[in-house]
Amino acid sequence: MTQRITPSLPPLAPALAAIALIATAPATLAADLVISNWDGYMAPDIAETFKAATGLEVEIVNHATNEEIMGKLMASQGAGYDVVFVSSPFAEILNKQGLLAPIDHAAVPNIANLYPEAAALAYDPGATFAVPYAWGTTGLCYRSDLVEGTPDSWSALLQPADALKGKVTMLATDRWLMAAGLLAQGSSVNEADQAKIDAARDLLIEAKKSLLAYDDTTFYAKLVSGEASLVHAWDGWCNYGIAENADIRFAVPKEGSDLWVDTMVVMANGENRENAMKFLNFILDAGNHAWAAQNILYKVPNKAAMESLDPALLEQFPNMAITPAELAGYELMRDLGDAQPAFSRAVSEIKAAN
């Protein structure tokens, strides 16, 4: 686009160039494959190693949130992207919208590396449209030197002991915030019943009084600094705290928790479907997939990759050793569909409450 602009053009040229840039879909340039992922969620040298293995040029774009990439995919109907990393409820939505290409198992032989549980997830039995990339659960991350006993219930977070008041944080993302209240009352993390959503909301408004903050990104740092003693945390993120302070532990409440899955999907309107399958196969290679476990400290649903991990890693980060059978026993987070506005409203009510 930019080469066409020469200095001799009138002053309107910059503005016109800006329009032209906006009017163009994601620049595909000469890439053989366009991937969108969260920043840092793959090996930083993935483009080079993939090129060395397949000769294919890959262009990587980042998205910050599921919602951000969903907006782009809905707008372009997926055109301009080949492989996209999204959480499973969003993969479900994309599939319902007809935007996903079926996973060609013959072209992705490494899919055999997946645990049987990972290929039988309720939203997509047989991994027909989404390949799980990482999975885990949500629970309580705490300083064992500051918290008495093991906090083994959601009530430890929602009705904290006096010593912990003002020293707990909760996740702010609507699904997980609501999940804590719902699970505490024996409801589903995908609850559609308004009365149960309201009850969870009331519980969470009450819990807000003893909360230090809502925190999705720095809760483990608050544990390390001692600002917080007990935080609502994703398993993998708790590990970042454990890495800095060995007194930090992770516990899954006895009432149960959610199973979250981040997946790789192939866009039906992408131009490089065959290359996309090659990329999935490349990631599912035991060594490549193990990168995520070793570096992001997330469990990967890849049996060969998990078995290749250094046992010392599992010892240092015990939640890395949660088995696929245990994970499958948690409640899979699904797309809410028509219940989404009820969740959104409940979350607004919680956040606006004083």
């Binding site: 329009i19 919602e67 925190d215 607004s348």
Partner: protein, 290 residues
Amino acid sequence: MPAFLRRPDPRALPALLWLVLFMVVPCLLLFAYAFFERGTWGGIVYTFTLGNFARVFDPLYAGVFLTSARIAATATAIALLIAYPAAYAISRAPRRRQPILLFFAVLPFWSNYLIRTYAWIVLLNREGLINSLLTSAGYTGEPLSMLYTEGAVIVGLVYNYLPFVILAIYSSLSRLDPQLAEASRDLGAGPVRTFLRVTLPMTLPGVAAGGVFIFVLSIGNFVTPALLGGGRFQMIGNLVYDQFLTANDWPFGAALGMILILLMLLLLTIQARLTDRAAGTRPPAREEAA
């Protein structure tokens, strides 16, 4: 219609085009979105509705507006109280030293907003700098909980926008003819009376400009409440952010945004009126080229 629109100077075209493309068109889009229904998966379903505007007046969201207005108004009041004396002192400093003083006032603004806000987290948190200093000074009680409070949000807003307020008031003060204050004193008014009857009224446009500036930016702010309020204080900016980015409810987010824009236009109009009135009371120092 303003003169520059009736007969635009061709040299202003790139800027005008920029403004139309990236300001007027997006605002119109937002305005249009606000009248349609949300798509279940995000985006817009083109069915006309006034429901989004009706929802703005739902007690829940109206309450968020009121909370935001209260926080923004408090930040505005505090900022004006700090900025006016600062601007006054700068305008009374020797003329050659004024630029450097202004430079220092604006200096913090040249660092990244997020970094400046994070600095407050480092200062205020329970294990932070202020609490450690207190402890080393012999304080033995529970660490003070300063962060994640409404006060912390207000401090963050005041700190971040103060340079603009100082600049706005300074520009009014520096244009004020010092002879007017002298005349007032010669006619027997004391310093307080001179300030209240002469200086303050004539610099009201600067106060209004700075005040509207910080109020408008504060009421729509979503970063500071999220970081310094720990997400415990929902402001209207957070609500708009949530509608677009997590609730997938663009039309409602757009309706909230329109209300914010209307509020801003209203305040700017009031500010312009104040400026006009002040200009009317000012002696015609020189004839403006009409």
